[in-house]
């Protein structure tokens, strides 16, 4: 076989010479466990899978009811309900920032003693473990559910994540500046202000914005269990089966969420890198650059569109 100079089928010949793959028993055992768990779940769950059969037809039917056409006349109502949801998210996040900022400083290694640090971290972990909706349900039973309590639930939920991200960012700060500040005789508060904060600020500000994006989603969800805003309007219309209004509300939810993500993402990018980069503009610029390149040498069209790494 080594004598055959053909390029046609060397694969079969070489398999015998190739060293065998080492048998990975643990990996196989793990796969077995995973498969067993999945099969057990399918087998044990109380679902009549036959219902899936007429599922696509039903889905088309309902999608038709929702979007052919959606109730455009409800657009102003939907938008004002969305504004309430966004306000809830903003207020909750702002409150969360105000609460979590000092707490995360107190949970940072080097800035606070262990006796303060670990209990705070435990509280953050606990708050992160409870889903926001559950916090809202708890608050509902104590204070009654309004847009304000919805915002409070968001605030409590965001303290968990913001606190953790905060102390992680503060701890990641390069030690040089803090050391210099300490050497120059700064107090703990001064070390935080001049050694830690300037280094961590961009990242922390970006986190805050990112958390706002999460809160926007959360506030829509909180509405579904009664906290007002777009979610409340959605669940009411779903329950009364006014599908064309549900359609317009879903469009509004999707568009507003995406829009806020885009704006917030652009601002975050500016905070981190110091340059404005608007996604749409960048995409257009990239496209026109590629077009110019293709015009210059049309022969590379194929390669260029497939992979930029052709040497």
């Amino acid at each position: 076989m080594s004598a055959a100079p053909t390029l046609v089928a060397p694969g079969r010949a070489t398999t015998q010479d190739r060293p065998r793959k080492p048998a990975n028993v643990t990996r196989k055992a793990l796969w077995l466990v995973v498969v067993a768990v999945v099969v057990a779940a399918f087998w044990g769950v109380d679902i009549s899978w036959g219902a899936l059969w007429d599922m696509p037809g039903k889905l088309w039917h309902y999608l038709g009811l929702m979007f052919l056409p959606p109730a455009w006349s409800k657009l102003p109502d939907a938008l004002s309900a969305t504004m309430l949801s966004v306000a809830m998210a903003w207020f909750g996040t702002a409150l969360g920032v105000v609460i979590s900022f000092p707490l995360s400083l107190l949970a940072t290694r080097g800035l606070a003693p262990v006796a303060v640090r670990w209990p705070l971290r435990a509280v953050f972990a606990l708050l992160r473990a409870v889903p926001e909706v559950v916090i809202a349900v708890l608050m509902l039973s104590v204070t009654g559910l309004t847009a304000f309590t919805g915002a409070l639930a968001i605030a409590i939920g965001s303290v968990g994540t913001l606190g953790k991200w905060g102390y992680e960012a503060f701890e990641a700060v390069d030690g040089g500046a803090t050391e210099a500040a300490t050497a120059a005789g700064a107090s703990r508060a001064q070390v935080m202000r001049w050694g830690v904060w300037p280094n961590a600020a961009p990242e922390v500000l970006a986190f805050w914005l990112y958390r706002f994006e999460i809160s926007v989603r959360a506030s829509a969800i909180l509405g579904l269990i009664g906290a007002g805003g777009i979610g409340k309007m959605l669940i009411d219309n779903i329950q009364f089966r006014v599908w064309d209004v549900v359609g317009i509300l879903m469009i509004v939810v999707v568009v507003v969420t995406m829009l806020i993500d885009q704006i917030s993402g652009t601002v975050r990018h500016r905070i981190i890198t110091g340059r404005w980069e608007v996604p749409v503009v960048t995409a257009l610029r990239r496209r026109s650059a590629r077009a110019a390149r293709l015009e210059a040498s049309p022969s590379i069209l194929e390669d260029d569109s497939r992979s930029g790494t052709v040497g």
Binding site: S141, F148, A151, I225, I238
Partner: protein, 276 residues
């Protein structure tokens, strides 16, 4: 100090103090940003109708509730087992199906593995839409379409996973070094073969790691989607809440807490090993 100051003896001030560049004037921009932030916050304050008096009033009425909440009734544990199991089952099925379906979709949604521009744009747009709808909203719609129970829960978890997984994995694919793929294509492989042989192994560890992460998210989500009727612990929460059985409610929440924390421990341990 004096040695440094000596050459410019005529100046009483620090040497070179006049030569130092003045700080750039950044405060006008900062004032504007701050003003905008304060304005938005003030607007949201008015919009959510902040009223501490009402809270205080309700709070004083809620003494009894609070007492019950802090005394979970453990005898209720037996009744929570079935919903707890259902929650886990829904999460496992949702994760398994969602992650399996998301693999080919992520290959379609990455510029590195899908040379077809229009198809790429289409898949990405659809996935963006799928991702921007919250899980609880899917659940409430499926509950009306297929009825209450675990099936609507599984379906909404499936879509929820699809959105997250396709985004994470297609972004991982975008970042892969494409030398291997190019070599495979050059040696005559089809795109499918090249992606299978050169791209899939590159993202496999991330795929497994994200699957575990998604399972964690799913457990969390599947405890709450029952609130709108999609099965699991959420349905139980809804039931005990409507009957004001707060000592049961606190037990259920305690269980959710334990479940989520356990899974978080497990997942972070496994993922740490995977990434190494």
């Amino acid at each position: 100090m004096s040695a440094v100051a000596a050459p410019g003896a005529s100046a009483a001030r620090l040497p070179g103090a006049g030569a130092r560049p003045s700080r750039p004037r950044r405060w006008p921009a900062r004032v504007v940003v701050l003003a905008v932030l304060v304005a938005i916050t003030a607007w949201s304050w008015v919009a959510v109708d902040v009223d501490l008096a009402v809270i205080a009033h309700n709070f004083s009425n809620a003494q009894n509730t609070l007492v019950q909440l802090f005394q979970p009734d453990y005898s209720f544990f037996g009744e929570t087992l079935q919903p707890l199991l259902e929650t886990i089952q829904m999460a496992v099925i949702g994760t398994a199906v969602g992650c399996a379906v998301s693999l080919p979709l992520s290959f379609l949604a990455s510029r590195a593995t899908n040379p077809n521009g229009p198809l790429l744009g289409f898949v990405r747009t659809v996935m963006n839409v799928v991702r921007s709808i919250p899980d609880l909203l899917y659940a409430s719609i499926f509950v009306t379409v297929v009825g209450t129970g675990a099936l609507s829960g599984v379906l909404s978890l499936f879509l929820f996973n699809l959105g997250i997984m396709v985004k994470l994995i297609s972004e991982a694919l975008d970042g892969v070094d494409r030398g291997g793929q190019e070599a495979a294509l050059a040696s005559g492989a089809t795109w499918l073969q090249a992606d299978r042989a050169a791209m899939l192994p590159e993202v496999a560890p991330q795929y497994v790691s994200q699957t575990i992460y998604v399972l964690e998210l799913n457990i969390r989500a599947s405890t709450v989607i029952g609130l709108v009727g999609a099965g699991g612990l959420g349905m139980l929460i809804d039931r005990v809440r409507t009957f004001y059985q707060y000592h049961y409610l606190s037990l259920v929440i305690l269980e959710i807490l334990v479940l989520v924390l356990l899974l978080e421990l497990l997942s972070s341990a496994v993922r740490k090993r995977l990434v190494r």
